[in-house]
């Protein structure tokens, strides 16, 4: 595989030293030890959703078996225990991102968390709600700013908020290579900007946003910042207070946790002012037929029976990640990302998207194979047991900007080995020969 030898050498990144630890980690993931198409599974789709370790599955099951009880609603022993464990899970997840427990709201995924903030703004802006919500009142003349590389989850809720309130949606463009046009930021972010929503790490490019600089510019104009941390919180240490963002969102299923749970972080002062989104039981203090009074955060935002066993399982996932160490996970994945990028640029007819090898990137890489549709690339790799993601990865505008409708993405996690990365590189090198009959 001469054409795909990674330019990043084992000497520089000590593969061997980590290997024993990664093997130990892999033992914890039953999903890794299955066969696909007669091959051992090579799971390179962790940016879509991560595999789950035994420890998380055990915690979830133990809770679901024995602790079944509505939290915050029962006086009996089971309910009291469930409530304590549920709030304990909140504290665990809050500590993981450097937040206070009452700054953490459970949602069903990151998408819902962004919608919660967007609807909070529109609920402050429509109808007769009046008290304490000036910070969130939007109308014509106001502007919401996103970037051109956003996941649909961090774009469409803002389009809809703009539609509902009459505010305008603007965006910070990217170059045709996918780089944020930070030079244009001062033009786009201005005195009319009320919200600046952006991804910490692009799920397509693996590039990292200049959070400090964007937060600085948003603060300078008094805009609220919303960080899509879906691809950062699972993969590297993130401290929301240190970053200085107002809101941040991420999903449990991308960080070893179960589906059905996500997190909204909100800075305490802002969360206190944000009107409720979903309404119903357990988020109220007093209810008459005419009106309801709402609890303080976080409970104001958690209507109805909560994702209890999912919250417990997510806390177990966080415990697992902390035990391994987010610093190490971040380093390890940075190395895998470099290995991917370096390998891909060495393959004939392959276009690497996002940062060039050697430039900071997360543990993932997307690419185009000239003359072969991404779905065919994915099918070809699947035949070798390699699971990658193909399509627009919920980022159609970015793909359009890159001149593509679809790409192929390989993404890693703490259980990914360098050998697996090499295997996908090797296989990608075989794609054009197979479909186009070109030489390797």
């Amino acid at each position: 595989m001469t054409s795909v030898t990674p330019t990043v050498q084992p000497e520089v990144h000590p593969v061997g030293a980590h290997r024993a630890e990664v093997d130990r980690i892999r033992d914890d993931f039953p999903g890794l030890h299955q066969q696909v198409a007669g091959h051992p599974l090579v799971y390179l789709d962790s940016a879509a959703t991560a595999l789950k370790p035994r420890q998380v599955l055990d915690a979830e099951r133990r809770f679901a078996e024995l602790r079944t009880a509505a939290v915050h609603r029962g006086a009996h022993t089971l309910a009291a225990t469930a409530t304590e464990e549920f709030e304990g899970a909140r504290a665990t997840v809050a500590a993981f991102i450097g937040a206070a427990p009452d700054e953490v709201v459970w949602t069903s995924n990151a998408t819902e968390a962004i919608n919660l903030v967007a609807y909070g703004f529109s609920n402050a802006s429509t109808g007769d709600r009046l008290d304490g919500t000036d910070a969130f009142r939007l109308g014509p003349g106001d502007e919401i700013v996103v970037t051109e590389l956003e996941h649909h989850a961090n774009l469409i809720p803002w389009q809809e908020l703009a539609r509902r309130t009459g505010a305008a949606l603007r965006h910070l463009p990217v170059t045709e290579d996918g780089e944020l046009r930070m030079d244009l930021a001062p033009d786009v972010i201005g005195s009319r900007t009320r919200i600046l929503a952006f991804s910490h790490i692009s799920n397509v490019l693996g590039s990292v946003a200049p959070v400090a600089e964007l937060v600085r510019q948003a603060r300078a104009v008094g805009a609220v910042t919303v960080l899509d941390a879906c691809q950062s919180v699972p993969h590297r240490p993130v401290d929301v207070h240190a970053l200085g963002v107002d809101f941040a969102v991420f999903s449990g299923h991308k960080m070893l946790g179960p589906t059905g749970i996500g997190v909204l972080y909100g800075r305490r002062e802002l969360l206190r002012e944000l009107p409720p989104f979903l309404t119903g039981g357990s988020m109220i203090s007093t209810v008459t037929m005419e009106r309801a009074e709402y609890l303080p955060p976080p409970h104001r935002f958690e209507a109805g029976t909560q994702k209890v066993s999912q919250a417990i399982a997510l806390a177990a996932a966080v415990d697992y990640l902390r035990e391994v160490g987010m610093d190490r996970i971040g380093q390890w994945q940075g190395m895998l990302g470099q290995r991917l990028a370096a390998g891909l640029v060495g393959i004939r007819g392959v276009r690497l998207l996002g940062p060039a090898p050697g430039t900071e990137r997360a543990g993932l890489a997307s690419f185009e194979v000239d003359g072969v549709h991404a779905h065919d690339v994915g099918q070809f790799l699947d035949d070798r047991g390699i699971a990658v993601r193909v399509g627009h990865h919920c980022a159609q505008p970015l793909h359009r900007r890159l001149g593509l409708t679809a790409s192929t993405r390989a993404s890693t996690y703490l259980y990914t080995t360098a050998e697996e990365v090499d295997l996908v590189l090797e296989s990608v090198a075989d794609v054009r020969p197979f479909f186009l009959g070109t030489p390797r």
Partner: protein, 156 residues
Amino acid sequence: MTAAELGALYQQLILDHARERHGEGLQPTGSVQSRQVNPLCGDEVTVQLTVDPATGNIASLHWEGRGCAISTASASLLADLVHELPADELTTRIGHFRDVMRSRGTLEPDEDLLADAVALQGVARYVARVKCAMLPWVACEDALRMLAAPSAPEPV
């Protein structure tokens, strides 16, 4: 899917048609055309039928689009199939193709009806790819419907 099965999906004939596409490029003179989008991937195809004024049969099929090897090969194979078929007959054959595609591999295609397009039979076992193969056929079916009387397209 083993390597052998990958070959069953991407038969050499399919790879050939994906590269050397028959009927690609719309004509200024076509009788009717229909554009269909595959909701799973966003790919699309526009199929154009030309009627032979003498016989009333389908003279030719041209197409233009964007898609994977399966969908482009499928369009190309379909272009080979239509020549001088009566509209009714073509509709029947499309129906048979759909049945094969939806059969999850349990229904053998009839080569008398589908000719070289039987090469697509391997797709039937890949539920996620069935829409790829169907896409041009659905567009063709819709165009045929327009020939009879203009109406709304059926979903893929």
